[in-house]
């Protein structure tokens, strides 16, 4: 099947839907998702979305800019951060006008809460900057934007899995998808394609990410010749519910929750004396794992406690309903009376497809544009989050840069026609599928995936070192060879999830190699990338963005400078 739209958006999370709402007035827009709309992982964001509204206390965008840059360990491009934080209040009011049911202050304004790393007056004390709707902020923003898309009659193609990006002479002309319900291939032609496909947490064993968050779009872009930026920066959220890894929002600490070790000690006082439990996520995750390494995990095991018991039942149920209900359900702990067992969980990738501040994909370190291709949200790297993202800045990123990408596409499509596509793009992806049916199936997809997820935890998570990274890369090479022998026993065309997972794994293995390789070459510690063998930040040598390029010899690492406008790198103490 072949269809044609002015703009095709891949991914129905917040970035994709916000972009769709933006361009629907002047363009024929279609949104493709591998799940149904409203199932996207943006919906699981709990805590909030930042903006310096100053509804609860004094706040300024300059403070937000500073916090984001410091949170990112000075790797963020400060011009991009400035664009984001200055636009934040407008973006929030706009969401409110669309109908997002934000929690309210006594005066009826949008309520705001504390969140990690967000401070008043350049680090003096925590500031209430995160706008929220109890602890289901992501879900209600997703629902509201979906509702807006319905209102504007955006065309949705659900349960479509993208197999390739179609290029000709360096311009993106569309995508080929696999229809999960029928097994048919579908060519979607477009003047502009936006990738808004989220993260890749599922390359790790312990993750807050959902099953759909496999990250194939990073690799499809990479295979098309586009470099990936800063892929070594993978965020582990400090408080994943032990042992599942499900997110327990930072809102729990924003509302006053405290981390404690086996001695009941509030250990964050030692690691971040000023803002304690509300330090940036990389700092808190390292602190938790250090406590565990030194034998102060609960009962000597690999978790610590998140204590909410002093907050009282009313506040807990009113502001943290979602968290309370799943903690009760999954681990049989009632946060009203007992502390919650938590451990760091893979949550977010700061790196991604390099873009300018209008979502246009950059093809190299000189800033050359990739015509017809755009990226926004977690799969993109603008870069606003640098080496470590602050909580609640992600939803802001999605809304601000989703909108800007939508606007840019609307502007750009006037320059493009629907060019005919040379060759048969459907034929060329058929081999990707048939290879699994022709294989003897000596290797099982599931066991290869489990091995990859474990080795990424071992060698590529919070603490890294040269020897481990080297071993990890070698093991990924072995897994890739074994993957060549893998087959899919289900030969059916209707909802063949086994086939989809087999294709996903190929992308995940490539992606794992890119993360480890980028990490191997960065011989310093910065933000979420911590090297036991190089424990200090090294600005003279590494204050630069990694770009990893595909070459016939394999991945090749190059660098580009960081844009520093207002804040020169300084020691990062919380």
């Amino acid at each position: 099947m072949i269809s044609q739209h002015d703009i095709v958006i891949v991914g129905a999370g917040l970035a994709g839907l916000r972009a769709a709402v933006e361009c629907t007035d002047q363009a024929d827009v279609a949104v493709i998702s591998k799940v149904y709309p409203t199932r996207s992982h943006s919906g699981t964001a709990q805590g909030g979305i930042t903006a310096t509204l100053g509804n609860e206390e004094e706040d300024h965008w300059e403070w937000h800019l500073f916090d984001t840059v410091k949170g990112g360990d000075y790797l963020s491009d400060q011009d991009a951060v400035e664009t984001m934080v200055k636009d934040a209040p407008r973006a929030i009011y706009e969401l409110e006008h669309m109908g997002v049911p934000f929690s309210r202050t006594a005066e009826g304004k949008i309520a705001q809460r504390n969140f990690g790393g967000h401070t008043r007056d350049y680090g003096k004390k925590p500031v209430k900057r995160a706008c929220y709707a109890a602890d289901h902020t992501g879900r209600v923003v997703l629902d509201t934007l979906y509702d807006q898309c319905l209102r504007h009659r955006v065309k949705f193609y659900s349960e479509q899995y993208v197999l390739s990006l179609v290029f000709d002479e360096g311009r993106c002309l569309g995508v080929v998808t696999y229809d999960l319900a029928t097994g048919d291939l579908h060519l979607m032609r477009a003047k502009a394609v936006l990738l808004a496909t989220g993260g890749s947490g599922k390359i790790y064993k312990t993750t807050s990410n959902g099953f759909a968050t496999t990250g194939e779009m990073f690799n499809l872009a990479y295979q098309s010749g586009i470099p990936l930026e800063d892929m070594e920066f993978v965020q582990f959220h400090p408080t994943g519910l032990y042992p599942l890894g499900i997110l327990v929002s930072e809102a729990a600490r924003g509302e006053g929750g405290i981390l404690r070790n086996r001695q009941g000690e509030r250990f964050m006082e030692r690691y971040a004396p000023t803002i304690k439990d509300l330090a940036a996520r990389d700092v808190v995750s390292r602190a938790i794992l250090t406590e565990i390494r030194e034998g102060r995990g609960i009962g000597g095991k690999d978790y610590v406690h998140l204590d909410l018991t002093h907050l009282g039942e009313k506040k807990i149920l009113e502001k943290l309903w979602e968290i309370t209900s799943f903690v009760r359900n999954y681990v049989g702990v009632d946060p009203v009376h007992d502390p919650i067992p938590v451990q760091p969980t893979c949550h977010y990738i700061m790196g991604g497809i390099p873009t300018d501040t209008d979502g246009r994909v950059l093809a190299d370190e000189k800033g050359s544009m990739t015509r017809g291709l755009y990226a926004a949200g977690e799969c993109a790297c603008v870069s606003v989050h640098g080496a470590n993202r602050l909580g609640c800045n992600s939803l802001l990123d999605l809304i601000v840069f989703g909108r800007r990408s939508g606007f840019a596409m609307k502007e750009d499509i006037g320059k493009y026609d629907h060019r005919s596509i040379p060759g048969d793009p459907l034929k060329s992806v058929e081999a990707k599928i048939s290879r699994f049916w022709n294989s003897n199936g000596k290797e099982k997809i599931d066991s290869l995936r489990q091995r990859m997820q474990s080795l990424m935890m071992g060698y590529g998570s919070v603490f890294r070192n040269e020897e481990g990274l080297k071993k990890g890369i070698e093991e990924i090479h072995t897994l890739k060879e074994r993957y060549g022998q893998a087959g899919v026993a289900d030969k059916g065309k209707v909802f063949n999830y086994a086939l989809m997972e087999a294709i996903e794994l190929g992308h995940q293995l490539d992606l794992a190699e890119l993360v480890l390789t980028s990490a191997f070459h960065r011989k310093e510690s910065r933000g979420a990338h911590f090297r036991d063998d190089f424990p200090a930040r090294d600005d003279p040598n590494y204050l630069k963005h990694t770009l990893i390029f595909p070459t016939p010899r394999g991945p090749e690492v190059r660098y580009k400078p960081v844009k520093i406008t207002r804040f020169q790198p300084a020691a990062r103490i919380y």
Partner: protein
Amino acid sequence: MELKLKIFRFDPQKDEKPYYQTFAVDAQPTDRLLDCLNRIRWEQDPTLAFRMSCAHGICGSDGMRINGICGLPCQKLVKEFKDEVLLEPMPVFKVIKDLVVDLDLFFEKYNSVKPYLITTIAPPEQERIQSPEEQAKLDESIRCILCACCTSSCPINQKKETEKYVGPAALVRAFRYLFDSRDEGSGERIALLDHKDGAWGCQTLWKCTEVCPKKIPVTQQIGQVKRRIYEAKHPKK
């Protein structure tokens, strides 16, 4: 412990009619039922089809009938079951394969209630003012994850003669906008809901409320929608 999962199977590519197949899974008492389904697909039968994504009751993908009652297998733990559990697709909707149903009708009905804020007065530069009390009216309804468990459990939706009933999920979303103090579209909304397949299709049978994985008082909210329609048509003198 070993748990047996008796699962409804139907593959339109080869089966003339559905059948049940039982799988045994070695599971921890704290494993989710969804974990067991994944293990079956990964280790025993790759053709087993079911939807899932977030695996903790937010995305709403994995609604199915569990021992006869609609729910989410990602919210159910193995220890809640004795020896065997029966898994079937949600009723009301057409089965595509195994536990996967066609949700197009569900989203069509959802779309039919104008599920978005309707305003005519231009908004202020900043946020519209809404008191915490006004906002709190929406607290429960905004937990809805569109899993369709309520609509598929509703006896009215299940009956052929009344299958056009818009269903509880769409009515919860109608409630969410009708009772939003910022909304100015109540006239349009009430017109859409005031008919036998709209809010009046509900016969207060409470099945929706019983099954809701997010503990939304669905029946009560539909009751408030009905009252709102009645009051709009019978203004107090």
